[in-house]
């Protein structure tokens, strides 16, 4: 099944309309959730009044940050085992987007933390620490790829690093959780159902879905750019060989 998707021609044909479609649908959903979050839903005084509206960016970006590291590790694994070039292109494209979402999560979290907790940054909070570590994992991945002299070496080194990082993530998470946490407890994914009122939950989930679709669209755009880059490299090499 993976092989069917690994065909670059099929990917280019599919992503030609799927990438803009994802970007459009994703942008619409994000716009809806931001509009709901900023103007429609009532403010929640318990979470610091109007500042809680950061929720509609902060929480999706946290989910996307975690999901993108998972995606990076999976794409690296698929490339390492089956050597499907598209998997490597996916990994290469996911890294900067994941780093961006991680940075957005940290930035919005700080902005939210300042009025509610009274500080921009808390070192003893487990989730902030985990996201920060993930940010550094993304940075290291991109720096390693950039340092390698050939594309093949960049792909291999990146895949090894992403997999070593991925097996470490549970350990990092566990060790960071040992740190005392003053974060509020989870309020969406709980065994007894969401504790958040539907008026917040619906725009939040739609927004998160929108970010996911938008992320997929951006990944496809970057992958298409990579395919074109490789094609142009081949054309240049051919021209130089012929001349």
């Amino acid at each position: 099944m993976i092989s069917a998707f690994a065909n670059p021609h099929r990917f280019m044909a599919l992503s030609k309309w799927l990438a803009p479609a994802c970007l459009g649908v994703g942008a619409l959903l994000i716009a809806y959730s931001v509009w709901q979050g900023l103007w429609v839903v009532p403010q929640d005084d318990y979470q610091g009044g109007d500042i809680m509206r950061a929720l509609f960016i902060h929480v999706p970006s946290a989910w996307l940050a975690m999901g993108s590291y998972l995606g990076l590790a999976l794409a690296s694994f698929v490339w390492f085992v089956w050597r499907h070039e598209l998997a490597d292109m996916a990994a290469k494209s996911i890294a900067p987007l994941g780093a961006g979402y991680t940075a957005m999560c940290l930035a919005t979290g700080s902005i939210w933390g300042k009025p509610t907790w009274g500080t921009w940054w808390l070192w003893d909070d487990a989730r902030m620490m985990s996201v920060l570590v993930m940010f550094f994992l993304f940075l290291g991945y991109m720096a390693l790829r950039a340092a390698m002299e050939t594309r093949q070496k960049a792909a291999r080194a990146g895949a090894i690093l992403a997999m070593v990082g991925a097996v470490n993530v549970p350990l990092i998470k566990f060790s960071v959780d040992i740190w005392a946490s003053i974060h509020q407890g989870p309020s969406v994914l709980r065994a007894d159902g969401p504790a958040m009122p539907a008026v917040y939950l619906t725009p939040l989930l739609l927004g998160a879905l929108g970010h996911m679709i938008f992320f997929a669209g951006l990944t496809m755009v970057l992958m298409r750019a990579e395919v074109w880059q490789r094609r142009s490299d081949v054309l240049i090499a051919r021209k130089l060989a012929g001349a």
């Binding site: 290291g140 002299e149 291999r156 090894i160 070593v164 350990l171 060790s175």
Partner: protein, 220 residues
């Protein structure tokens, strides 16, 4: 012809590098002591303050000192062709990589552990806390060297890869740093020293495989 086992060769070669030109094993020691020396100058010399942060400062200095020599760990083997021979040998490459990293830890990691009580005392840490802490520093330092070895192997073919190695390895140091610092603070009582040992064993199991995959990439 009777050639020596590559595992032993790698081990002896790494030990020999301690005596090689350009300071060898003295370099990490100097860096370790120097980094710790900066602390009283930057934080202030008040005894109670230093005592409170002393063991943590030693962890930071140990983590940074572990990275100093990682750039050359496999780079020299790549340049003189040793790595290529190891990759072709029937001995599994991860065993050779483990031998090299362990030997490197013996000559540039263990001396730092021996030095921790001396620096700890100058940082006003109670002497009774420092001797049991050496076990934690030893275990933690080994994990630092193992993850540093993976980063060093990944960056073996990168010229001037020192900073890259630091960026790759530091996130992997976090569990060790957390459990290590907690076990020193609690004086080896409680579960933290067990968590520290577990994370070092985990590094011992995973890091050589990652390092050997990276070394194969470097010779290709």
């Amino acid at each position: 012809m009777n050639s020596p086992s590559p595992i032993r060769a790698a081990f002896r070669q790494a030990i020999g590098e301690a005596w090689a030109g350009g300071a060898g094993a003295l370099l990490p020691i100097g860096f370790f002591a120097g980094a710790a020396m900066l602390v009283p100058f930057t934080i202030g010399s008040e005894a109670s303050q230093l005592a409170a942060i002393g063991t943590g400062v030693l962890w930071v200095a140990l983590a940074l000192a572990s990275l100093v020599s990682m750039e050359r760990l496999f780079q020299a083997d790549l340049e003189d062709g040793t790595l290529e021979l190891w990759a072709q040998d029937e001995t599994p490459l991860f065993l050779i990589a483990s031998a090299k990293i362990l030997a490197h830890w013996l000559i540039s990691g263990l001396p730092l552990v021996v030095l921790t009580p001396v620096i700890g005392i100058t940082l006003q840490v109670p002497a009774g806390q420092l001797v049991p802490a050496m076990l934690a520093y030893g275990l933690g330092g080994l994990a630092f060297f193992l993850w540093g070895g993976v980063a060093g192997a990944l960056a073996a073919s990168v010229p001037r890869g020192g900073l890259l190695i630091a960026l790759l390895a530091l996130p992997l140091f976090i569990p060790t740093a957390i459990f290590g610092a907690l076990s020193v603070q609690t004086g080896l009582e409680g579960p933290n020293i067990l968590f520290l040992s577990a994370s070092t064993l985990f590094a011992l199991a995973v890091a050589p495989i990652g390092a050997s995959a990276a070394l194969r990439l470097a010779v290709d």
